[in-house]
């Protein structure tokens, strides 16, 4: 491994910094929106296992967030149809989905100048396409607009009501229809283009605006309208506006009860867009954007194509998540322990040691590769050795939400050469990492990070199962310079009090953390964050407790995701 490669691998993760080992306390941030600096408590830790302040449930939502790029694209597709959108594919693709981030702070809640320009230009283009092409005009405006010179007032009213409702995700008020009509001129073509562009640029289309029902307002919160509840359900489950069935449910008052909400959330969760949303959750939770590309020579040694492997491994993970959540209504334990694998290519078939999967029939079962931690995508290292530190940090920080400070990059830098100096011929990767991180400035964190990575050492740098570690000659990749026996036994995991500190190896470790409370809390928290694009605050605690309760009782992830949407909080927002 060359030094720059090593640096790039370790520098993104924690490495050599003094930290206090300890057990996780789940922090729910204090909502400081209404507090002055003087009043604000310092990072008030709240144990989210306790449901506090029920009268304020749902009162934490205050911000008018913009639609994410993905939500915007799905909305446009639902309003206009895929065929019209295909006419502006290039402009549409230029708008980022806003999903490829690993930290909440990476998501910009405000529009940038470039994005506003793109959105407005897109609205102008679409309005022209819709009106200038008779077939699209008939589809969007109605048959009454076939001859624009004869378009009458009822035709306008009908168009504004139907198009407006789909865009604003609620019926338009009489005032709003009058306002839109007030800008009409005698040129119906121009007026329609202006109106469509205006609606597609409206804050009611581009933002999650929730006016609420005025006479329900208390000092702390206001109840949402049925249509606003419908929008929360659909965006929460599918990153999309309400479909016809959800509109109908809102119209008929079915969404005033949790049962009604739950029915719709259940219907949507495993729809095609619901499945995409599920994958977005896992991509965020597992920080999949930071997963490595395989090392080329290592891949070639194993007979694997290094160019396509990462994408294939990612697709395999997506299939796994869908299988666990939507196909089998699996539990958290299944997520960690299931040996079902989904290799559609020879690359993955080789790594998992199973036959190919045809994408339809029952998936094969691997001998060793269990759950998330046994996925090739998770295990692939960007170098010719396994990345013990990255594996350990990802498990602790992302999967279990254990506190993990950022590394001191100066110390990291100083240790890179030291790693090079520890001979891979004489020492195994585990021994080298132990030696590298044994200094007093490092051991504070690495005393817990390293063992969490050691237990996965039976999986090689591409995720292949192995019982010995082979050291290849960099000049002659076919030549093996050394063999090291794999040692996965650890006795100082320091995960949580209820989990044993020792493990004999991977299976033992997986069994332990599949029972972990931290794991379930972490899953609940990241699901909250990716759905609401914010960290939870104190008044969110009841919803989190309920989600956690499902994860602890039935263990069904699907039920937990539904519970995260369909709880009392969905009916409320903060009163201004």
């Amino acid at each position: 491994m060359n030094s720059s490669h090593l640096f790039s691998v370790v520098a993104i993760f924690n490495f050599c910094i003094a930290c206090s080992p300890g057990f996780s306390t789940y922090d729910v941030q204090q909502n400081s929106n209404e507090l002055s600096e003087a009043q604000r408590p310092q990072d008030l830790p709240v144990n989210f296992k306790v449901c506090v302040s029920p009268p304020q449930r749902g009162s934490s939502r205050t911000d008018v967030n913009r639609l994410t790029g993905r939500e915007l694209k799905n909305s446009l597709e639902d309003i206009l149809g895929g065929k019209i959108l295909s006419e502006v594919r290039i402009s549409l693709d230029a708008i980022p989905d806003d999903t490829a981030f690993t930290d909440l702070k990476d998501f910009g809640t405000e529009h940038t100048g470039e994005l506003v320009n793109q959105i407005l230009q897109l609205a102008f283009s679409l309005s022209e396409i819709v009106i200038d092409r008779p077939e699209y005009r008939a589809q969007i405006v109605g048959a009454c607009a076939q001859d624009l010179t004869k378009m009458d007032s009822p035709c306008w009213d009908s168009f504004l009501k139907s198009f407006g409702q789909r865009a604003y995700r609620r019926p338009l008020t009489v005032d709003e229809i009058q306002t839109l009509k007030s800008s009409m001129t005698s040129d119906n073509s121009e007026s329609l283009k202006t109106t469509i562009a205006r609606i597609l640029s409206s804050p009611y289309f581009l933002y999650h605006i929730e006016d609420g029902v005025r006479d329900t307002a208390t000092a702390s919160r206001i109840r949402l309208s049925d249509y606003e509840v419908a929008a929360r359900i659909s965006f929460g489950a599918t990153q999309s506006p309400p479909d016809a069935e959800l509109f109908k449910a809102a119209e008929s008052g079915q969404l005033r009860s949790l049962d009604g909400v739950k029915l719709q959330a259940t219907r949507l969760l495993c729809s095609p867009r619901g499945r995409s949303k599920i994958f977005e959750f896992f991509r965020y939770w597992l920080s999949m954007n930071n997963f490595d590309d395989p090392d080329i020579s290592t891949a070639k040694n194993l007979g694997v194509d290094p160019v396509t492997l990462k994408a294939q491994a990612r697709e395999e993970m997506q299939a796994f998540f869908q299988y666990i959540i939507c196909e089998t209504d699996g539990t958290v334990a299944d997520l960690m322990k299931s040996k079902k694998v989904f290799p559609k290519t020879n690359n993955l078939s080789l790594i998992y040691g199973t036959p190919l999967w045809d994408g339809k029939s029952s998936p094969p079962e691997a001998t060793h590769h269990s759950g998330i931690l046994g996925r090739a995508g998770f295990l692939i290292s960007g170098s010719d050795t396994t990345n013990i530190i990255r594996r350990g940090v990802t498990i602790r920080k992302r999967i279990l939400c254990l506190p993990q400070p950022s590394p001191d990059f100066q110390i990291v830098d100083s240790r890179v050469q030291a790693f090079e100096d520890i001979s891979p011929i004489l020492y195994s990767n585990r021994q080298r990492v132990a030696s590298l991180t044994g200094a007093p400035t490092c051991i504070g964190c690495h005393a817990s990070i390293n063992p969490t990575g050691y237990v996965l050492e039976n999986f090689g740098p591409l995720g292949e199962w192995r019982t010995t570690e082979k050291v290849y000659d960099a000049k002659d990749p076919k030549k093996i310079l050394a063999f090291h026996q794999i040692d996965t036994r650890v006795d100082d995991l320091k995960l949580e009090r209820s989990i044993a500190n020792s493990a004999q190896g991977f299976d033992d470790f997986v069994q332990s953390i599949s029972e972990s409370t931290s794991l379930r809390e972490c899953l609940a928290r990241y699901n909250f964050e990716i759905t609401q694009l914010r960290a939870p605050v104190e008044s969110d605690s009841c919803g989190l407790v309920e989600t956690l309760s499902v994860l602890k009782s039935t263990g069904s992830i699907k039920d937990a995701f539904i519970q995260a949407i369909a709880n009392e909080d969905i009916f409320w927002r903060k009163s201004q």
């Binding site: 809640t109 405000e110 100048g113 121009e190 640029s201």
Partner: protein, 452 residues
Amino acid sequence: MINQAHSRRMFLRGLGGFALPIPFLSSLVSRSAAAASSASLIRYVQLTSQNGVNPEDFFPSFGADVKISESAAYRLLTSTGTQDISRNLGRPFTALKSKINIIKGLDIQLPGSGDLFHSRTTMSTASSQDRSYEGEKGFPYSIDMVLGASNSFNPVPSLMPEGALRLGVGSSDQSPSIYGRQRPEYYLDPSALLNSLNRIGSGTNVTDPKLIARNNRAVTTIDLVMEDYKRIANSRKLASQERTNLENFIELSHTTQKRIQLMSLNRTAGKCGGVEIHSGNSTLTYQTYFDLITMAFACGASKIASVVVEPKDPEFRFSNAQHGQVHAMVARWRASRDWVYARQADLITSLDRLTDSDGRSLLYNSVVLSCPNMAKPSHGLDNMPVLMAGNAGGSLKTGYYLDLKGRYNDVLITVFKALGVPPSEYEKYGSGKGFGAYVDSGSRNTTLPVIV
């Protein structure tokens, strides 16, 4: 002392972005006419190169025959007929004599010495060095960045993420642009720049009547959209972050609207779109750069361009690190400077050939300032080789060779004045009157004689 209290917002504005909303909004809503009138046509181009020139190769061989004071004389360049101005300003400039000015005798004055004297890339754009400016030694604001942040000159910041067209330098160390401690990116790849321009809608032909109608409709629509946003802001009580988000959208919509209006104003230029990427040697690369600049100017995508003109071809290349070897490589050195100025002539000619929306040429409606980062390879900062072109829409006269004794800062002040930037907008970057680093006392907001 350098005033470094300029915000990130100002930097972003200089770059064309808006990170933060401004207090609202009555001034922004219903404003089409005001926006149109503020959309001035004048543009600014700065051309820099590295390592200076050989003064005998750059300055005219003829003298300045009209003396106007002890420290100033001039000559009309056209009075020299078809005679070449100098070796560097050879044949391509003969046809441009009435459209350029050459200024001799201006010095950059720096406090201190030693490393401070080791010229940096912002010498000609900030009249000072950039990197070792701890304390009061340097002046870390270049004129292009200050113009980008100027409400008077640039009321409609470019939507390009980079804020302006910045081309042709490989590392930020060599960038002539600086704003405090921040330096914008420069493009090396013309394709990437074209993609960026296309993303903001400048690759299309605005002479198309349908597009003109669309732009007019877009301006109207954005008026209506802004009214819708205002209605929401007035109809319900918004939390501060909610208000911030909505106001941010309005401000950015307003910027888009003004940019569309600017494009409409410039539509008779008829040069939007159609740029082809040429590659193969540095001359072709720069030709593409210049095509992109003229297109972006014509389409209102940017009012500011900054180009570092240096060849990469082996027969001309003269790297920054080689400036101590001029004596050993003098033939290549001189040929390399000839190449640099031939390319500058290419750009000036391109701007001159294009008709702007007011019937004048783009060059007439521009100010081009050319000056390398040092006077000569020895790091000398006395007698900076200044070339200017363009009339700033009538504010600047051209066709003169000026032989002066004075400060280089006067060139920058002249540019600000020609571009309509009041002292209040550039003096806030320094410690007092004027712009850039000064060592002497006395009047600072002085402009060049004759041409203003």
